[in-house]
């Protein structure tokens, strides 16, 4: 039994077995020891269902990859955890409270395409935004805030770029800066949408080293990714998603051909013992109508597919 920094004094709910590898634990136990707890959640946009009957419990200190094909609901799952969308049905508890209530203890990093990179802010400005929620009205950044920002930038290897405008950064550098913003906030839960998509291998290794260290220190990290190799090698746990959570457990157990076949369906190709996922690195399919996507100036080298804005 590991130490749980977030004790949950409230009564345990009616027992319900989770259809995951966690299911050995009863749900009350899972809930009490989870930073992220979803029970029978259905959610979507407009009248379109994106996720249904989702059950998931993520223990404190986990490093969890959320994988699945385009439009499977990965981003939706993350937005539910971040309290950005309200479930139609079911409950989402984050750090022991309904999603959205512990916002200052949560750092959410959106997909790179959702950020306007032409915006007139510097790297330092962006990372400082991570400190804003904890600062008072009319209060300007103090010495503590500046130290935290400098430390976060140093941690992601961007210490020399503090006064660079974000638009002139490469794709990898942009992901580093957004991770620095999350680090500067000092959260207990990181929710990262595609943090290593389209970045160079060095950046991927660096970012994963940082996330691993955060998880070791008791923070919980949930990240969506298209990179199954990265999920298998660098994450402790994997949840596979396709309209619901199909499997959740240690990455070694989850990433087997049967689970992947169930998750990816026709997008999966098995070639002489090797499993290949036919999927591109960019997805808009589960994005709600009206979400703004910014494509200009992407230096990430990711496969990009243009689509008329909704």
């Amino acid at each position: 039994m590991t130490f749980d920094p977030h004790s949950h004094p409230h009564a345990h709910p009616v027992e319900r077995r989770l259809p995951t590898v966690d299911a050995g634990l009863d749900s009350g136990h899972a809930r009490a020891h989870s930073d992220v707890w979803l029970s029978d959640v259905t959610a979507g946009y407009g009248d379109r269902v994106a996720l249904e009957n989702v059950n998931l419990a993520v223990e404190a200190g986990s490093l969890l990859a959320v994988v699945g094909p385009n439009g499977a609901g990965k981003s939706t799952l993350l937005k539910l955890m971040a309290g950005l969308i309200t479930p139609w049905h079911g409950r989402v508890e984050i750090l022991g409270h309904p999603a959205g209530q512990q916002a200052r203890r949560v750092a959410y990093v959106p997909q790179a395409e959702l950020v306007d990179w032409g915006f007139p802010v510097t790297v330092n400005d962006v990372v400082m935004m991570g400190r804003y929620p904890a600062m008072g009205r009319f209060q300007r950044p103090g010495a503590d805030d500046r130290r935290a920002v400098a430390a976060a930038l140093e941690q992601v290897g961007m210490g020399g770029h503090a006064s660079t405008q974000i638009g002139s950064l490469s794709g990898g550098q942009r992901r580093r800066v957004f991770l620095a913003r999350a680090l500067a906030a000092g959260p207990d839960l990181f929710l990262l949408d595609e943090p290593v998509t389209g970045v160079d291998p060095t950046t991927q290794e660096d970012l994963m080293d940082i996330l691993e260290a955060e998880a070791r220190s008791g923070k919980t990290v949930v990240a969506t990714t298209h990179d199954l190799a990265c999920a298998a090698q660098r994450f402790q746990q994997v949840a596979t998603v396709n309209r619901t959570i199909l499997a959740h457990g240690p990455s070694s157990l989850i990433l087997d051909p049967d689970v992947l076949a169930a998750t990816y369906g026709g997008h999966l190709l098995v070639l002489g013992g090797q499993t290949v996922v036919l999927d591109d690195a960019h997805h808009h399919d589960d994005a709600p109508a009206g979400e703004r996507h910014f494509h200009e100036g992407g230096g990430g080298g990711a496969a990009r597919r243009e689509r008329p804005e909704p």
């Binding site: 407009g46 959106p110 915006f119 802010v121 400005d125 935004m129 600062m135 405008q165 002139s168």
Partner: protein, 283 residues
Amino acid sequence: MEVLAEPLTHAFFVRALIAAALVGTVCAVVGTFVVLKGLAFIGDAVSHAAFPGVVAAYIVQGPILVGAGIAAVLTALAIGFVTRRAGIRGDTAIGVLFAGAFALGVFMFSTIQGYVGDLFGFLFGSLLLTGVDDLAALAILGAIVLGAIVWCWKELLFATFDPQGAAASGVRVEALEYTFLALVALTIVVSLQAVGIILVVAMLVTPAATGQLLTVRFGTLVVLAVAIGIGSSAVGLYVSYWLDVASGATIVLVQTALFLVALVLGPRSGLLARRRSSAAVPA
């Protein structure tokens, strides 16, 4: 020197100059966020939507600023609501509400019998007619708008740049959005006296747009926009005084000229800069 000093001997010109500087400042600060949020069209819509309020106040002999304020704020909030809730594209909702509100104003305007000269002041601005009580109203409204912007400065910047990241970290983005739309409406009311309904969107958008051509830093952008807002208002007012032409239109023309100069010479998008370093400038 005489060119600058002579007009200052007239109290009406001094009042007009102070009003122009106030309006220039408030518009530039609010306009910076308007430009970054991509709300220029909303600014145009809300200013036209103030017209029925102005006409209604004129008909019932009430205070014009109050009529304009109510109409502008209601329209701004309606646009926000329809866009968010009715599943209609933002530009469509704006097009419908803005034309509808302006038509209502024209309709009411056409029912008025007799002299309506005062109303033309609100269509095209009448800076040189600014009275002491107008100035007081401007100062109070301007202080309210600027105070509110400073009050939520950090949230506004965070939510403008990354609405989802801001919402996830506890910023109440939707409430902030409505507050900002109401502030845009108040800013427009503040500016009616100076440039009038038709041209007010230029006061909001042009200084910040010009600033964007010159800097990539947010703080510098706000300072530049304010400097351009105040400077062009003062220059426009002097030019209109000496040439005896419409002050509101002259101010907007000065701003437009500055924008065109920045477009050609500016370090970011300038035609000269592009020639200088076609390789070094990142996308």
